[in-house]
Symmetry: C2
Subunit: 116 residues, 2 copies
């Protein structure tokens, strides 16, 4: 997975409304854009734009049936990013949280970083 794809995924998920859209579509596969829009304050057009964004990031798959566009959640990109990051940070996550501060301090030899 290229850096740009990761950029796109994170940027697309960095919006509470879009994440909620994923939740709603996940709960009701095949939902239409208008039905989805009823759950939000913003205009239908704004929702449509978000759907487009989610589609570009491949987080949603859409299929038009008659005059309605049916929406489906696609878990693959999140799965990929999840696997990638789990591996990347496994060295850190392997140790318990309480151990991290001590380890960083050991590495930095003489420093006292505050772990929030």
């Amino acid at each position: 997975m290229q850096a740009e794809a990761v950029d796109l995924l994170f940027a697309t998920l960095a919006h509470a409304g879009r994440r909620r859209m994923l939740d709603l579509v996940m709960a009701a596969p095949g939902m239409s854009v208008s039905a989805l829009a009823t759950h939000f304050e913003m205009s239908r057009i704004a929702v449509l734009k978000h759907v487009r964004a989610l589609e570009v990031a491949e987080l949603l798959i859409t299929r038009k049936q008659g005059r309605t566009r049916r929406l489906y959640f696609n878990p693959v990109p999140i799965q990929l990013i999840h696997d990638r990051w789990t591996t990347k940070y496994s060295a850190f996550w392997a140790e318990r949280m309480v151990d991290i501060q001590a380890r960083v301090e050991r590495r930095a030899s003489g420093e006292e970083p505050k772990i929030a």
Copy 2:
């Protein structure tokens, strides 16, 4: 964890340069901003701004020693988001990828969504 915090985390991570900064600081805890900036094309000021952003998102912890600001990676926010999302999508991830298309089709009863 509030939605805004998640927004902030995703938005902050949605930048290849910032993710690379995390990697670099992870590899060399206590690194200074100037040392970090040597790895990038952009100006030192731009790097500093990214460091500030990472600090606000609590992905970096900084501590000033003398005239240098020392940087440390903080894995906690990523750990939190990881746990949250693993739980959220565990129902999907429990099944193998090859099974997903069939399942979505079953749910949609009659639909033929294309899983890219």
